[in-house]
């Protein structure tokens, strides 16, 4: 049986476990119907031209975790930022782990979706937000919606600004040879609130895990959200990250994506600007090697006047790794005075590495400022010579230049702790000790 058929057939079994009377069950059933019609995307789809899921969906996966072997804190501690006080929502093979998590309902809700679905008091919020900005024509999003069951649920009420970042961690133990995970996250920052979120997917050992994750983020008036995605998984893991962000007026949302690991990673990052004076920021550093593949597929939908968007992605590719950047900016007719900036710069370290970069601008307003640029090149030889004349060996010199190339992305990382962590990940990824505290 093909895996796609298995997904359709297993829905009946899935229904045994959930509350069928919950209003969102209609969303699930509708989404399943759409997925049945749409199927998995193929290379025929314009936005999947350079990334193929074929070899992945030919395999078979378990859709749920069987064993409940607990994960010890010491096994996973190193993947967290070491602020002990910060809130954590941790899932092990798709199942919430209260033992590893630190959640709250005190003054804000930092908990799990299954809890929110089961309680009446969340009904109106879920009705207002759940599945409201997910486009109907994206089959992977439909697939995720149809199996909605668990994920992070974060609601930051008006004017609340938690000090520490919230960490969302998806751990895959490898207790099953192959597993298909579909976390569903809902994040709402109400008026004048501010929140910082770090999301990470981590396998504990080599095994075939595919995560088709979907995150809806709502920034109400004047809300500030900083979202960091750390993608540094083992080379046997696949991640399809579908993120949809809806912003109301005066809100400011930024998403930083650090892609250093994984076998295949596809980021579908979509911003919808629903009011005036909105700021949207999309930044990323991608450093790949061996046969890794990362695809950044972004959309910024300027639907209202006087808004800004700023995209800056840097990529560094060694061995036979492949990078894809497909950045779409839509400016509706009403969205006058839009200021949209997009930049994608890449360095190919080896002749066998490859980058496909494609800016796509659709502008229907006439008074806008839109700029875009992409480059693919090698490290500057003169710069390399300069460093070498200072006694810095080739390998370290290359690492230093690569670091310098990617550096401006890190400038906007606000949490010092996180910045240090990313810095050390980069140094480790580049395989050298630069001899100083980055």
């Amino acid at each position: 049986m093909k895996f796609q058929e298995k997904l359709l057939d297993s829905f009946i079994a899935f229904e045994q476990d959930i509350d069928l009377l919950n209003p969102i069950h209609t969303d699930r059933k509708d989404a399943l119907k759409r997925f049945e019609k749409q199927g998995f995307p193929s290379k025929k789809d314009e936005s999947w031209k350079y990334t193929s899921l074929k070899s992945i969906i030919q395999k078979n996966y378990s859709l749920s975790s069987k064993s409940d072997k607990s994960v010890e804190l010491r096994d996973v501690k190193k993947y967290f930022l070491n602020d002990l006080d910060s809130f954590k929502i941790v899932f092990v093979d798709g199942i919430y782990s209260p033992f590893l998590s630190k959640t709250t309902h005190d003054g804000m809700d930092i908990c799990v979706l299954s809890a929110a679905l089961s309680k009446d008091k969340y009904k109106s919020t879920l009705k207002k937000y759940f599945n409201q900005i997910v486009p109907k024509d994206e089959s992977l999003a439909s697939l995720n919606t149809s199996y909605t069951k668990e994920g992070a649920y974060i609601y930051i009420p008006k004017g609340v600004c938690p000090e520490d970042p919230v960490q969302i961690m998806h751990i895959s133990t490898g207790n099953q040879e192959s597993i298909w995970l579909q976390p569903r996250n809902l994040i709402i920052a109400d008026k004048n609130s501010k929140v910082e979120i770090i999301e990470r997917h981590q396998s504990l050992k080599d095994h075939s895990v595919v995560t088709n994750s979907l995150t809806e983020i709502y920034a109400e008036k004047n809300a500030f959200i900083d979202y960091y995605k750390i993608q540094n998984d083992l080379n046997t893991s696949t991640l399809i990250d579908n993120t949809f962000i809806s912003q109301q007026r005066d809100s400011n949302v930024s998403v930083h994506t650090f892609s250093f690991g994984g076998k295949l990673t596809r980021n579908n990052l979509n911003f919808y600007q629903k009011g005036e004076n909105i700021q949207s920021t999309l930044k990323g550093i991608t450093i790949l090697e061996s046969n890794q593949h990362v695809d950044h597929n972004t959309l910024v939908n300027h639907e209202q006047p006087n808004c800004e968007s700023h995209q800056d992605y840097k990529g560094i590719f060694s061995d036979r790794s492949v990078g894809v950047f497909n950045g779409k900016i839509m400016v509706k007719k009403i969205a006058q005075k839009t200021n949209a900036f997009q930049q994608n710069n890449n360095i190919l370290i080896d002749n066998n590495s490859k980058v496909n970069t494609k800016p796509q601008l659709e502008i229907f307003a006439d008074d806008v400022k839109c700029s875009h640029g992409c480059t693919v090149g090698q490290l500057d030889k003169e710069a390399l010579f300069y460093l070498k004349t200072r006694g810095i060996p080739e390998k370290e010199a290359k690492a230093l230049l690569t670091y310098a190339f990617a550096n401006n992305i890190l400038e906007s990382v606000k949490t010092p702790n996180l910045k240090r962590r990313i810095n050390s990940l980069i140094a480790k990824k580049l395989g050298v000790n630069l001899g100083f505290d980055l």
């Binding site: 500057d380 070498k388 004349t389 200072r390 810095i392 060996p393 230093l400 230049l401 100083f436």
Partner: protein
């Protein structure tokens, strides 16, 4: 210290140096002058081991060891320093961190431990004050947004930190106003002693008023066409290079 014999080199099959001879002893300051395109900067790059330049004939000896085949970093570890005409910008790496890395990599190559932080800090302060560099400057990204003068001062600061045995200064004076020129020249003088040597490459005699050379060499069309003392530089300043062209042909 440095001995260059009949050095020929080319870049992409285009010959640039066509038989350079040059001998610099310990404790000496030499200057090289010459018109644009004569091969001055090429010579500086070749001494430091730039890989784009192919040495087709001749040899470079440094401290009695032939260094033709050494990489730029190996030459640096031996004690060769090149001050760049156009220093490269390295965003995200501060001046302090850069110089720390450079010094510790050189020490590593000699099997020494890293320099203790307190010693490093003391040295940085000392050399920075020599070049009238303030501490804010040291925490800026290397050369990024630096003025021409700041870049050159930073080059000489790196030289002072690395204490090379041979410093090659490639047009360190270009783009400097007179005050910056004095600071830079003063830095070079303070660092020079009987155990090291300096090779100054310049267009203008002006710098040589401050860094007074023991020898001046004129390079034209890839060869040293005349050598003399500091008065030769003054003569060039006054009457240019044309008379040498005639002499040469």
């Amino acid at each position: 210290m440095l001995e260059i014999n009949n050095l020929h080199c080319q870049i992409e099959d285009k010959p640039i140096l066509k038989g350079i001879n040059l001998k610099i002893n310990k404790g000496e300051i030499h200057a090289i002058m010459g018109p644009n395109g004569s091969g001055k900067s090429t010579l500086a790059n070749v001494i430091s081991g730039h890989e784009d330049y192919e040495v087709t004939k001749g040899s470079i000896y440094f401290k009695d060891q032939e260094i033709n085949e050494l990489s730029p970093e190996e030459r640096a570890h031996e004690g060769v320093f090149l001050s760049f005409q156009y220093p490269v910008e390295i965003p995200g790496v501060t001046v302090t961190n850069f110089i720390k890395t450079a010094i510790n990599e050189s020490r590593k190559s000699k099997g020494q431990d890293e320099m203790p932080s307190s010693e490093m800090l003391k040295k940085i302060r000392e050399k920075a004050s020599l070049l009238e560099i303030d501490s804010n400057f040291l925490s800026r990204s290397l050369n990024q947004g630096f003025s021409g003068g700041e870049k050159k001062r930073n080059e000489i600061f790196q030289m002072a930190m690395m204490e090379p045995e041979l410093a090659v200064l490639d047009e360190t004076d270009s783009g400097l106003d007179i005050d910056a020129l004095k600071i830079v020249a003063n830095g070079v003088i303070k660092c020079s002693n009987e155990n090291n040597s300096v090779l100054v490459i310049t267009h203008y005699q002006r710098l040589l008023d401050y860094i007074v050379p023991d020898f001046v060499h004129i390079v034209m069309d890839g060869k040293v066409v005349m050598s003399g003392d500091k008065d030769l530089a003054k003569k060039i300043e006054e009457i240019g290079y044309d008379w040498l062209k005639k002499d040469n042909s």
